[in-house]
Symmetry: C2
Subunit: 405 residues, 2 copies
Amino acid sequence: MTEELDLLIEGKIYSNGEIVEAYLGVVDGKVAGIWISGTFKYREKRALESKEVALPGMMDIHVHMRGLEQSYKEDWFSGTEAALRGGVTAILDMPNNKPWIRDENTLMRKMEEAKNMALVDYGFYLGVPRSAGELDKVKDFVVGIKIYPDEISDYLDPILQRAKELGLFRIFHAEVEGDEVKGIRTVMKFIEKYGGHITHVSSAEGVRLLLSAKSQGIEVSMDTCPHYIWLTERDIDWRGYVRPRIKSSMDMTVIKSSVKSCLFDAISTDHAPHTEEEKKGGATGIPGLETALPLLFTSVYKGEFPLKAIDLYSRNPADIFGVKKGCFLPGNDADIVIYDYSDRRKIRGSDFSSKAKFTPFEGFEVVGRVSSVYIRGVLALDEGDLKVSRGFGKPIVRGKSFHFE
Amino acid sequence: MTEELDLLIEGKIYSNGEIVEAYLGVVDGKVAGIWISGTFKYREKRALESKEVALPGMMDIHVHMRGLEQSYKEDWFSGTEAALRGGVTAILDMPNNKPWIRDENTLMRKMEEAKNMALVDYGFYLGVPRSAGELDKVKDFVVGIKIYPDEISDYLDPILQRAKELGLFRIFHAEVEGDEVKGIRTVMKFIEKYGGHITHVSSAEGVRLLLSAKSQGIEVSMDTCPHYIWLTERDIDWRGYVRPRIKSSMDMTVIKSSVKSCLFDAISTDHAPHTEEEKKGGATGIPGLETALPLLFTSVYKGEFPLKAIDLYSRNPADIFGVKKGCFLPGNDADIVIYDYSDRRKIRGSDFSSKAKFTPFEGFEVVGRVSSVYIRGVLALDEGDLKVSRGFGKPIVRGKSFHFE
């Protein structure tokens, strides 16, 4: 290969659920390929340390960047800095802002903030709009719609129908009166008709219902979050209040085992920052972007999860949304996380870049840290130093995956 | 990359659940890498046609090559020719031969036949031996042990224990009195203790039980076969008799949907040839090696399955056994199937290379065919012509996948 590369990374590379010693090449911001050996021409080379591994950039399909009137909780700069430091190079942001994002005009306000402030790539969900027609106006700017528990009514039918026709993702928070199982049973009536995704699944019975639905051919996918994988209700205090609530050790066992067996389609964080005062006052939601990958990596490192579990937070989300990221396939965006696993450390909320400097994982020991991150081939984080400035993040592009003509 | 390649393939390449236009390089029988563009030095180049795609060689973890006293049904030449023509470059062979393979001496006889006759790479399961000690003698020559329904007894405990210690796979045929659900409940007592795999899962309730077991953290994996994915009891005559029997359309829906959602760990064929006379006389078992990939490809082509379903018959089996095959990861064996999807054709048992020239899929229309196959970088099948001779196939090597030190 005599073409000149912009960047050549030599060392341990994660691909196809394995780690191999190889070369990863980047040209024009895209993955050029992975190669086992040879002599390359390149403008820049990075030889990884023996305890560094190149992972694809993670993609988080459920985050709350806040901003607008809630910028005191988090804004598009602090939130995406948290993402970057967590090895997350693409995020999908929820619409429950103040004001709620249900129409084109409000969406434009949020898009403007993201455009000016984001450090990583991003997409938006629209809230349930007043009419299906609103979807046509915003279809090029959103990846899907988010449906909250109190929005479940027959009113949704034409909206879900139109969303499906437009290729917009339908993602549900499934809880009724705090009961996830009731919530799933309720939203399944819509998912059976239009297909959809249930986010932050937290209970053993929820997993059982959804695996059953999948095996019956219903077009449903699901994700869970780190706080359901590694925490039980006995492990938490005010820092762990979240909806759905963190449940029993039996529930955690099923969630964790289902991640291990890759029965989930994805992991997301539901990164949802508040001030410490709000949080202590009972606000639900916890920041997660800076802890998800270290926690996941640690379970993989210890052999609790197979290597391919990394896909749940990278390749799979990208695959679900048809985004050319998430794995080192030639032609994909060169989003690369250099993960340094040379030491162990304790998670400290006070270290966060998120404005929310608390975490239910406070004091948890994890293996390693994100040392550097490339986004679209550009070094965005270098040994912990920010190398790009606000506005570097771009809207994600949903390209169709390959189809036979 | 200035190194000289032995082979360069240019065109549509399957990797990471996607198909990309790229270059696939081969050096010394191994995958050198996949690259998006550039100028390569190579000894031989193959530019794929517009309706050809390079897939990894398939790996079938459940076949019956027969041989020994049953060579009239199939032998290691005819059976591996069937594999090769079906795009299957590695097979794992069952021990219910005549004589049954339960000890080192009988195994050696079979190994000799395979060594002299095989066209594709292979591994063996041992039958349940008389004592656990037998496992130590054969551990380097077998990939695991196969447990049949009438062998389920407490006698198994020390054998399964030792198999687990030696890293030998425990694969179960789970049926009691023709009842798969009873069978699964029975073998789960052992799998809960030692872990294991249930092969040819055929029923909706079987899938439900096994998904539940997985989500509870039990170390269990499972595969199903093409005849449970695409056939119901109403579709078959004498050609479709098999154990477990092909079941209702409700069962088929669940099996098929679970393949679509990649809830199975693998697809296998349970390729089990008989003479037509035996078959008409009620012998159970059907040949499958020449139809599995075309059927799977057809469902992927039509969009019934996602592209990544290809992994179920390639990357996943290789991953389960720690074999460096099954995907185009640098350093893996260069097992490459050139699949030509330019036309449709009907499956005809009379076209088979297997000695068993019947199939329950007789007359099924499939998209395309395996046109060429490379094994370890060597062109073994070229536009339908055999290019290697008996004995080309080699024992598979189970290399450890990457582990963090």
